[in-house]
């Protein structure tokens, strides 16, 4: 290449550089987006999170707000185990089983005492948190990543709560229970490697 073309090359390089140099903001946005997408891009996480909201809405007050508050806090404990390098056996199995159990609770309209529901949801939250937590050290910005996946988890609960709101009507109750059944079936598919 002739050296008279070098200034042109320099200008092109300058244009290319602007995309990668603003590293602080990019790290923040990248970390947040990867955290936000982590639960959303894992269908096993998605169905289990929706099931938490669905079951909360199905049980009514106070479960409708207690479960979405308990879940992220216990999930943080699971995430802490993950980042601390504490190995948890069968994490993926636990996530698939969470979809089966929570889906079945909705499908069969199980209404346990609120503390039992909180313990069941909390126990599964540890597996979900562990899975997210092990990804955290690779994130561009760990705090932004953690904010992203907690918010995404909460929004997935909200999707479940919104769908669960249909349970106020008789036909809607059938739809919600059918949704729970589908979630449980999805859990079986993940458990046996069919999905």
């Amino acid at each position: 290449m002739k050296t008279r073309n070098l200034p042109l090359l320099a200008v092109l390089l300058l244009l290319a550089v602007t995309d990668v140099s603003a590293h602080s903001a990019e790290g923040l946005a990248g970390g947040f987006l990867s955290g936000l997408m982590h639960p959303v891009l894992g269908p096993d996480h998605v169905i289990a999170m929706v099931a938490v909201g669905l079951w909360g809405a199905f049980l009514g007050r106070p479960a409708i707000w207690l479960l979405p508050i308990v879940f992220p806090m216990v999930m943080a404990f699971g995430g802490a185990l993950g980042v601390a390098g504490v190995t948890l056996p069968a994490v993926e199995t636990g996530i698939a089983v969470s979809a089966i159990v929570l889906g079945a609770m909705v499908a069969f309209a199980v209404r346990p005492p609120i503390w039992v529901a909180a313990v069941i949801v909390g126990a599964f939250a540890i597996f979900h948190g562990h899975a997210h937590g092990t990804e955290l050290p690779n994130a561009a910005n760990p705090l932004a990543y953690s904010l992203g996946f907690v918010i995404a988890t909460g929004l997935l609960h909200l999707c479940g709560i919104a769908f669960g709101g249909l349970a106020h009507w008789p036909a809607g109750k059938v739809a919600v229970r059918a949704g729970g059944g589908l979630i449980a079936l999805g859990g079986f598919a993940f458990l046996f490697g069919l999905a």
Partner: protein, 204 residues
């Protein structure tokens, strides 16, 4: 010789962007606005201020006034000291303390704890001190430093004010639940990163 000059000029041009683009949060924006956005763009500051604001707002309009004024005055003082003496907390210490405040306030928000004035003022004071001492700008001088620290004060106070107002205006049951859920999110995010920081320190 002419070709050598062109080559040198080219290398200089390519080398320049790294020098000017890498140090400020948002390039092209003046120091004051960078300061205003500083508490929003630093996640640890954002979590600590918002969770403290939600907690203060949950206490009702009468009890939120003194802690908010305390926060403002302490923040002004801390930023003044930071600017004057270039005091700065070590990066990991500052973040850990801010996240600890976020965890504490988040748990109190999630449980909708009613507090008396003294603990509220203590929380506001500690949060403002940490935000102020963690906003040091040693690379800036003179008017630019004054502008960015003033901006940080304005941004920090507006953030806690808006968070407190959001919690105070939440009168309906579902709105109160929403505020409590935000508290649990703040706790969860901050707790995981605290654990990560401890784990990283242990591995060093």
């Amino acid at each position: 010789m002419k070709h050598m000059m062109r080559l040198l000029f080219t290398l200089l041009l390519v080398g320049m962007p790294g020098l000017v683009l890498a140090h400020a949060p948002i390039e092209g924006m003046d120091s004051f606005y960078n300061g205003v956005l500083h508490p929003v763009l630093v996640p640890a500051h954002l979590l600590a201020i918002v969770s403290a604001g939600l907690l203060i707002g949950q206490q009702g309009v009468k009890r939120m006034q003194v802690p908010l004024i305390t926060f403002l005055l302490v923040l002004i003082g801390a930023l003044t000291v930071t600017g004057q003496f270039d005091l700065a907390l070590p990066e990991s210490t500052g973040e850990m303390l801010l996240l600890s405040i976020a965890v504490l306030c988040g748990v109190l928000v999630a449980t909708e704890m009613q507090l008396s004035l003294i603990p509220l003022m203590a929380i506001a004071t500690v949060a403002a001190l940490l935000v102020g001492f963690d906003s040091s700008q040693p690379e800036l001088q003179g008017r630019a430093k004054l502008a960015i620290l003033t901006g940080t004060g304005v941004g920090g106070f507006l953030l806690i004010l808006y968070a407190a107002a959001a919690a105070e205006f939440a009168n309906r049951a579902w709105q109160k639940i929403g505020i409590r859920i935000l508290g649990s999110w703040a706790t969860a995010s901050a707790f995981i990163v605290l654990a990560f920081t401890f784990a990283s320190m242990r591995d060093l």
